[in-house]
Amino acid sequence: MHAENEVHFRDAAAKALLDPQLRANFRRAMDGLIAKRKAQFPDPRDLQDLRDLSTAIRSRSLLCLPELLEQLEASCAKNGIKVHWAETCEQANELILGLLEARGAKTMVKGKSMVSEEMHLNAFLEKHGIEALESDLGEYIIQQDGETPSHIIMPAIHKNKDQIARQFSQKIKDAKYTEDVDELTAMARKVLREKFLNADAGLSGVNFAVAETGTLCLVENEGNGRMSTHVPPIHIAVMGLEKVVARLEDAAPLYSILTRSATGQAVSTYFNLITGPRGEGEKDGPQEVHLVILDNGRSRIYADPQLRATLRCIRCGACMNHCPVYTRVGGHAYEAIYPGPIGKILTPQMEGVGVRHDLIHGSSLCGACGEVCPVEIPIPEILVRLRREATHEDLGSKVAGKGTGRTATEDWAWRLWAGVIKRPGLYRVATWFATRFGKALPANAPLIKNWTQSRTKPVPARRSLSERMRAEGVPHE
């Protein structure tokens, strides 16, 4: 109880709002993404039908989650993919380190994986002398600058090309300064090709894992995912345990709504289906494929029938693209792996609703996120639920850190209010004073200040309702 917030989204957001460059970068990018998504769904009926189908697919996958995970494990084993389980990020990191060390691997190239960000895998491996290099262009750019992703699909969206041009000219050997996007891309290609050619291991995330066939589906545009999973001798895939679907036919509509919702593309450049290591007679492909299934709080989220919807997420990022808060403060202000609306419900459930109390309240509840979500996650409703969880210890609730978001001030305020409201005499005196002298209260008084900082001070009525009713002879009580 009474744990004060450790992370201050409010302060970080206030700082971000003062950065005109950052705001311009995000505004431009999000406007573009909103328009492109809209163009992909010209028919509202098609969109709604596809959302309903996608929601049904994800919901039924979750309904049968333990069975599907077991089926996935068995199918993978049949195909020669070794499955590993990890309850925590630490376990997953150790597992991967073990696999790499056993094979004497010193360098690993990575396709984009948000779960590996969740694990802070790169830092962990580097501590153990293994180079983990991001190969998605956006991830490469931010890793080079020691940053974290500010968007789950476009990790370097907070930077403009001048900033990237300066960075490349300083950090890539023999690079000249250019603001030409094709030339910048070519520079990264040259560096990374060399890395793909020589890497000892490759790592990827998983967009959908198919239980029936034991297939890992990877969605990408750049080809770095294919490079990371096909060129090095060992491929390690990491996934959150919610990523499983029953059949490959289920992955097809999810894939379609994913690319359209995420970047406004009808289809990505590559939809790569990996069902095993190098097969009999094959001349390339990894000798070994491993799949690490991570829990990290997901099974706890799963236990709550309402919050379980959080796990339907297919990580398209549409909720952040359409969020008025995200667009203004950018991804880093959240100080979380998953920013934006989905992050606001996912992060507090993983890390505790008390320590991430600011995130749950960093929303106007405008509802845009829920409206665009391809799998209809009721993000605003879940935010409201988590706001209650943060300050209450409801019986039967399994929410991490429930009740720990209460502050002493809040407690005191509620106690005062309860004390007054329960005593009619005191209540009458209090409302008499509030109606007569409320106007005189200075706008910068403590507590009032939090409201008046960005809003006009409310003016109380001259008389309370019950006073008026009495005066006007309206029968009541």
Partner: protein
């Protein structure tokens, strides 16, 4: 025993209300249909929008079409799978001299350096196409290794018009991919691309810079 697997599955089961998989309403996917004669144009529209180039050919002249493309572009060599159907047909019709056919017939471990630095283009067949969004379906394997369509700067793919499906979903069903898959199968819709710098599209980031589809009109 408290290993992670048992613990995770135990927790999931404890919250379980699991039952048989409920049925799905897939009408939205079923109504995406095109008459066979219109599918090639629909596929082309989608793929050209993402910079895929098309060469038209007949069942008889496609090797010559590829040959003249290689000559026109000044390619020194073309990587192919000598035991694949498309690869052996190409080799049979390939005149001596000019651009050389380079077979991918060794394990990549002895071929990596050459593959990355000594190949101008790679040629593969396809097992079908997808009309709705535009896309090629490939099943790499012993005869056509995975990296042929990824590492060389140009990827040339042979597509027979009669093998184009309506959607990826219908293709998965028709090809039986939902029941069994080879170690690798994929859909490709264009050359490798990125928009990670200011949302500006740039082609050829890690994979091929150009994708050339040789579209064979076999729908007489």
């Amino acid at each position: 025993m408290n290993d992670p697997r048992t613990a995770i599955l135990g927790r999931l089961r404890a919250s379980g209300d699991s039952g048989p998989l409920p049925d799905l309403d897939t009408a939205v996917l079923e109504r995406r249909q095109w008459p066979a004669a219109q599918r090639p144009a629909q596929l082309r529209k989608g793929m050209e929008a993402v910079h895929t180039e098309f060469l038209e050919a007949t069942p008889a002249d496609w090797p010559a079409v590829i040959r003249s493309f290689c000559e026109r572009e000044g390619l020194k060599n073309l990587l192919y799978g000598p035991t694949s159907e498309a690869g052996s047909a190409l080799a049979a019709a390939w005149p001596a001299g000019g651009p050389a056919l380079k077979p991918y017939d060794r394990p990549v471990e002895t071929f990596k350096e050459e593959l990355f630095n000594g190949v101008d283009a790679g040629f593969t067949g396809t097992v079908g196409g997808v009309a709705e969004t535009g896309g090629l379906l490939l099943m790499p394997g012993p005869a056509e290794p995975r990296l042929m369509s990824l590492v060389p700067p140009i990827h040339i793919a042979l597509l027979r018009a009669s093998t184009i499906h309506d959607t990826f979903w219908s293709a998965v069903k028709a090809l039986g991919w939902g029941r069994a898959l080879p170690p690798n199968a994929l859909m490709i819709s264009g050359p490798s691309k990125t928009a990670d710098i200011e949302q500006t599209l740039a082609y050829g980031v890690h994979g091929p810079k150009r994708l050339i589809v040789v579209l064979v009109d076999d729908q007489a």
